[in-house]
């Protein structure tokens, strides 16, 4: 049983993968990972990444898709805990650098202490003093 943390999803993948690692059934790929497999390639929202020609076997096999192969192809950071069979895939540094180039604050969504959800962007039109703290 493999657990995969990706794009805000925490997904337990079903049994029967064709190999070791974070393989997901193509039919459940969007729900489990946010990525979807389309004719033009692997797509996350508007963005589609073609599967490299001649290497489709590394990515897709018997109706399953290998998220680790996609992460390696995109230069996304990947961490694995072998003991608990847990994988975590992040964003490629190049994607994040583009976001920071504009000096526009990246948006986020978090709950407050009463459970009310806030986004940074809801304060557009006001000055925001965003300050971190911790109990530790």
């Amino acid at each position: 049983m493999v657990t995969l943390l990706i794009n805000g999803h925490t997904s337990v993948t079903p049994a029967g993968a064709p190999g070791p690692g974070p393989w997901v059934p193509v039919s459940q790929m969007a729900a489990l990972t946010g990525w979807d497999l389309k004719p033009e390639g692997a797509c996350l929202g508007e963005r589609c990444v073609p599967i490299p020609p001649g290497r489709s076997d590394e990515f897709e096999r018997e109706g399953w898709f290998n998220m680790a192969a996609l992460a390696a192809h995109l230069g996304q950071p990947l961490a694995e805990d072998a003991e608990t069979e847990t994988w975590c895939i992040g964003e490629a540094p190049a994607d994040r650098a583009t976001a920071l180039n504009s000096a526009i604050a990246p948006d986020f969504r978090l709950p407050d202490y009463r459970g009310t959800e806030y986004t940074l962007s809801q304060f557009r039109g006001r000055k925001v003093f965003l300050v971190s703290w911790a109990s530790w």
């Binding site: 950071p77 961490a79 604050a105 978090l110 806030y118 557009r124 000055k127 965003l130 300050v131 971190s132």
Partner: protein, 221 residues
């Protein structure tokens, strides 16, 4: 402190948003929030998402964002400095002159916040876009890898795999040694209170001449 400032600057169009970087979640943060009795938003960030998005490596760290959503001051220590390092770890005692140095720094910084709240982009505390861009930390491969190890560790800790969690926190600290948030959160999850214990002070001492809280970029007075 932030509640008083919220009330003082209520008519300036400034919102203070506090984010608790707290993998223990609300249990750890709530006593402090209740004591502050805040009217400003107090968010709880178990996965340190905000720290990672903005490149905050310690607390308290603040980012100033103008009405258009543009960062006008990159992450910097929010009204504190390295004078705290003179503290006696055993007693928490600090000499009078060091206490004064901390008060002065806080005063200077809060005066900066007040000036910006009232004058907006006209304030010399609001930095030009080019200056901000040059000072925002560029994501680096090892820091991105640190993020996924921290995220994985936090997930495993929540599931009760404390030892496996610490293995990944150690990777995160090794890959991003400047992040005191990773380091101290990991110590805290190992054992509450440990984040201010011997290992912490040894790591601070090991900085030598390097800063724990880098000096802020203040306008010339």
């Amino acid at each position: 402190m932030w509640q008083a400032l919220t009330e003082e600057l209520a008519d300036t169009g400034l919102t203070i948003v506090a984010v608790a970087l707290e993998s223990r979640g609300l249990d750890a943060a709530l006593p402090y929030i209740e004591a502050a009795n805040p009217t400003y938003p107090c968010l709880v960030d178990r996965q340190h998402v905000v720290a990672e998005l903005f490149g905050m490596v310690n607390v308290p760290t603040a980012v100033w964002i103008n009405e258009e959503g543009r960062i006008v001051r990159p992450p910097e220590p929010a009204g504190t400095n390295d004078a705290f390092r003179k503290m006696d770890p055993a007693t928490g005692r600090l000499a009078a002159e060091d206490r004064q140095a901390l008060r002065d720094e806080r005063q200077r910084y809060l005066d900066g916040v007040r000036d910006w709240a009232r004058r907006g982009d006209e304030s010399p505390w609001a930095l030009d876009e080019a200056v901000v861009r040059s000072r925002l930390a560029r994501p680096r491969g090892e820091h991105e890898l640190a993020r996924v190890h921290f995220r994985l560790g936090e997930h495993l800790w929540e599931l009760g795999h404390g030892d496996r969690a610490q293995a990944h926190f150690a990777q995160a600290v090794r890959l991003h040694p400047e992040s005191w948030a990773y380091r101290r959160q990991a110590l805290d999850l190992e054992q509450q209170g440990k984040s201010m214990g011997r290992e912490y002070w040894e790591a601070v001492t090991a900085l030598g001449d390097r800063h724990y809280y880098p000096p802020i970029i203040a306008p010339e007075s």
